[in-house]
Symmetry: C3
Amino acid sequence: MSSDLSVLLVLDLAGTFAFALNGALTAIRIVRVDIVGTVTLGMLTAMGGGILRDVLMGSLPPTTFSDYRYLVVAALGSLVAFAFARALGRFGTTIDVLDAAGLSLFAATGTAVALDFGLGAGQAVILGAISAVGGGTLRDVTVGRVPVVLTSELYAIPALSAAVLVVAASALGVYGLTAALVAAGTCFALRLAGIRFNLHAPQPRQAPRDRG
Amino acid sequence: MSSDLSVLLVLDLAGTFAFALNGALTAIRIVRVDIVGTVTLGMLTAMGGGILRDVLMGSLPPTTFSDYRYLVVAALGSLVAFAFARALGRFGTTIDVLDAAGLSLFAATGTAVALDFGLGAGQAVILGAISAVGGGTLRDVTVGRVPVVLTSELYAIPALSAAVLVVAASALGVYGLTAALVAAGTCFALRLAGIRFNLHAPQPRQAPRDRG
Amino acid sequence: MSSDLSVLLVLDLAGTFAFALNGALTAIRIVRVDIVGTVTLGMLTAMGGGILRDVLMGSLPPTTFSDYRYLVVAALGSLVAFAFARALGRFGTTIDVLDAAGLSLFAATGTAVALDFGLGAGQAVILGAISAVGGGTLRDVTVGRVPVVLTSELYAIPALSAAVLVVAASALGVYGLTAALVAAGTCFALRLAGIRFNLHAPQPRQAPRDRG
């Protein structure tokens, strides 16, 4: 199991790097941040979801904050974005794929962490989704943009699917590296299909007075 | 006392439903949220105040998050708003009254929870008010609107009145279901009077350069 | 050491007053807040950084919230801003200097608190900076303004400098009142130099499509 755990840690750090890079680039694109803002918003994107999860679980200080490896990897991803923003702007698709990978890994590992901590199935699903989408949401709110996850695209639903699969695997007693990868892979496939086919979650029918 | 507690729990869950319904409808009116955004913002409105209170008290995981009844009721209220947004848009007054009821119940029960946890009188008043107005504030900030509670109307002041009454009743050793209902009733009356007579909290006199 | 500690407490409370005053005035200038909004945003500016630090450390309830002296001083500073907003608008420079003093004191004491709590050097530097800039950031996000600290000026970098000096002094075993004042003084000098000479942190080179 120890080598399995190493694999999950490496994947988690890879997700952290992807989220920091993408989060910092997104911040640069939305507002005229300086180096402080770029690094802050990259790290917030990469670590914010895990921090929200740990605060809601009462597991303080949050792992992603107290484990220096996450801090270093998140800072590094943000600095790469700062240094190469102009060049990286041309790799939109690659970065979308990296972001989908981060989303998938965080949803699976975040749910597993919540279950390990003793939370119920419903709470674990919510915390898995928060681990995955919380960082980007905090970044968007900080720069004054309505979080994309709340308005369109398939973003939270793939994360919720991965979280449900992890809870199911755990209930059946078969949670392990394979199950984590199946859950993350499902999220990844749904997210990429959403981007490729431009799928959106359903919207409410508005009241007439909002139509004008 | 057990039946008194049951009454308070039922009232608290009724307040949760009212806040989720109203919070989700408000979100739909302000931004083009999808189903994920509607449910997220409805649940944030209903549970955010209690979560802020519990984080500031250090009582983690937060009760409203770990008790599945609050999760289910908050999700239900949000889904009703999603399904019937167009129809519910016509019941503005009814929804304002429901929201005032939620405000009043959360202010009274939130203050009592803080006192039970051993906090001082000043802290309990602040946490009672945060329980009542915190969820709507988090929703407004998330969708990029300046929280209404900070700019106009009588919203925080009725909640603070209920909190002060609960602290006073507790200091006099007469806190119980009756006192909770008196405190909540006072908040409810003040809030409805504020809506009816269009009352606002006082504003600061601006510096001349802001006048133009 | 006891009198040293008293000096630090007095300085910390002075910083709290300066931040509350400046935070409330800034809020009044940005949005049409009423008395509830003025006091809320003044207190959030003064206490938000310390609360974020304590949540991330897992030291709950937060000191600035549970110690009534901080609550009273923060409320007082906000009420002074509410009462004299028009007159205080003419003292822009004085208020910038007070704000720089608050920034410097919070960066130094925030870092020391984190080290005392047993956190690592990197984490203590981050938490020192968060203590100093977190309150203003929360205020800006709440009123819908992109936090100034993320986009321009020298604001976070002076705070980080003070935090690094405190960590260095602690590692060398010479942290005390003198070291705290040297660290705070360095931050103060850098901040005032930044205002005087209009210095800004470097910005990333934007991708071409953002240039138009």
